[in-house]
Symmetry: C2
Subunit: 333 residues, 2 copies
């Protein structure tokens, strides 16, 4: 195990200086502190042993996801994680992240500086600077909905999107739908790509026509509604699966404005089961992500990484929640 | 929760008869016993409550996989499972399975009859009769290397084969290989398909020529060696990745008999890290499946299913083990 002495030897400075730098003493220059921290990470130094008397610290690093209110998507994920991590003796801090912080310090150095021994990372996108760090970082991290290949310190937790799309397509097929459309946010995020491919896998599995004309993907929901939705309706799709609930809700409203009844003329399915789904008009049939369980699985995966059981992926079963936005396929000319 | 009374009501017989049938009393006809058991399963009856004083029982159902000796593939998987299940208070039985047993009784009825509340299933192939049962069964089961979609009572545990192939291709690429072949058992089993697709994903990721002519798949290893291997060598591949170690070992021997030196003329990579890999000539570079960890993950997944945390998939990180069967790409004309 790497010691403070090893860091001192590598840099040709005293143990005392290394120790001060690791603890952020004000009489050590910023440049030297940075050098010490980076060397510490490079050599695989961890502060683990220094925490015998204190609680060990984990953090949930969160970005692009609301979590403070009970109806926010992140609320229950965090709750599930804490429900197991805290009784197991960990202190869990929540860190609001942004790109500026990520650009100023590497993930490993951030974790070392703040005494965190593992992180659960929520809401990141491929353009987050730390996504690059995660390819080679050494401090255990579990990423929700982001997959990094071949780094044994990183795990990935998500819902089984293939299963989710399978349930959605199979539900529509059982109602007689044979021409099914798909509306999505643009495909730049990993999760949107995964769901898009999962949609086509499910169509194939059910021998339903695969036609990319029946799909529409846009960064802006309004664009999706103005350009793609009318096109899909004109092509005669009788059901539309949406990459997430907000698009499903917008699509439902737009269909109604265009004079289509939901579900009599067109069935709509969402994805995620956001709390609003039960209160829209009509309530939205959707694929549920069990958020408490996602949080718990995040802890299981992190615990396993910290204990050298090298879990790389945990996928939760998806669940179809049938409400009133889906019905028998409309007879179209 | 379903009671014995519910079963009695459904069948219009007495509670005592149901109870006798569930316990296999000899004065109940086989037909009636079967009817009672199937109704019990259909109504979701479990014997859980009857076991307060006894140890709860799990089973490992195993087929097509040796496990009795320390060098057998299944040995450590079973060990890893027991290392956590037994301290957690479970009795773990090992059941040697065959198709006859599966044809004579459904999976759920088998489990109910024998008081098992969960199973870890090793070595099954798509033609096993219970693979069909697993699509709708209700007793928790974790399948190693077999994936069943949309049954919330079933989970899937495996190594991350995509990651394994990525590591293999990336290793060969770093040694200068640009024309990489693939030898495999036939593609009828799920795992062989997954690895085959993973091989092409990895080539794509590394911008290496994808050409199905460079692959060969046969049910019999000898066929693979006599038909495909010479063809691949003639096409000028400098490295060959094999779907599993036994093919890698056979390929190495066959190459040597054909006058090719391993790794000077041709590099060979296996998959699994069977114990023999360290003792072949030369020792085989391969992708390791951490078998103890697979066993432990099997228990984690089963435990989560039994506790209503609906984990569907756990994938372990793959690990490249570099030995002497791989080296710098040979210069070919």
């Amino acid at each position: 195990m790497t010691t403070i002495q090893d860091i001192a030897n590598t840099l040709g400075i005293s143990k005392g200086t290394v120790s001060k730098a690791l603890n952020g003493a004000s009489d050590i220059s910023e440049t030297l502190q940075k050098q010490v921290l980076e060397t510490a990470v490079e050599l695989g130094y961890t502060k683990l042993r220094r925490q015998k008397s204190e609680k060990k610290k984990l953090c949930i690093i969160i970005e692009n996801m609301e979590y403070k209110e009970i109806h926010h998507f992140g609320y229950e994920i965090i709750l599930g994680f804490r429900q197991i991590a805290e009784p197991a003796g960990f202190q869990v801090d929540i860190i609001d992240m942004n790109e500026d912080i990520q650009s100023s310090v590497s993930y490993d150095v951030f974790m070392l500086q703040n005494d965190y021994i593992g992180a659960f990372v929520l809401g990141f996108t491929p353009k987050d600077p730390w996504m690059k760090d995660f390819e080679t970082s050494r401090t255990p991290a579990v990423l929700y909905d982001n997959y990094v290949i071949t780094n044994p310190s990183i795990a990935y937790v998500a819902i089984d999107n293939n299963e989710g799309m399978e349930l959605a397509v199979s539900h529509l097929k059982s109602l007689g739908h044979n021409k099914i459309g798909y509306l999505s946010h643009d495909l730049k995020s990993q999760i949107m790509q995964v769901r898009y491919n999962a949609f086509f896998n499910a169509l194939r599995h059910h021998d339903i026509e695969e036609n990319s004309d029946y799909t529409g993907c846009s960064y802006y929901i309004t664009q999706c509604m103005n350009q793609h939705l009318p096109r899909l309706l004109n092509l005669g799709v009788t059901g539309i699966i949406c990459s997430h609930d907000l698009i499903a809700n917008a699509a439902m409203i737009q269909c109604q404005q265009l004079g289509y009844k939901v579900p009599e003329d067109i069935s709509i399915i969402g994805f995620d089961d956001l709390p609003i789904c039960a209160y829209t008009s009509p309530p939205i049939t959707t694929i549920r992500q069990e958020r408490i369980q996602l949080g718990k699985s995040g802890y299981y995966a992190l615990d396993s990484l910290m204990n050298q059981v090298s879990i790389g992926t945990i996928l939760l079963h998806a669940k179809l929640v049938v409400r009133q936005s889906t019905g028998e396929a409309a007879k179209r000319e």
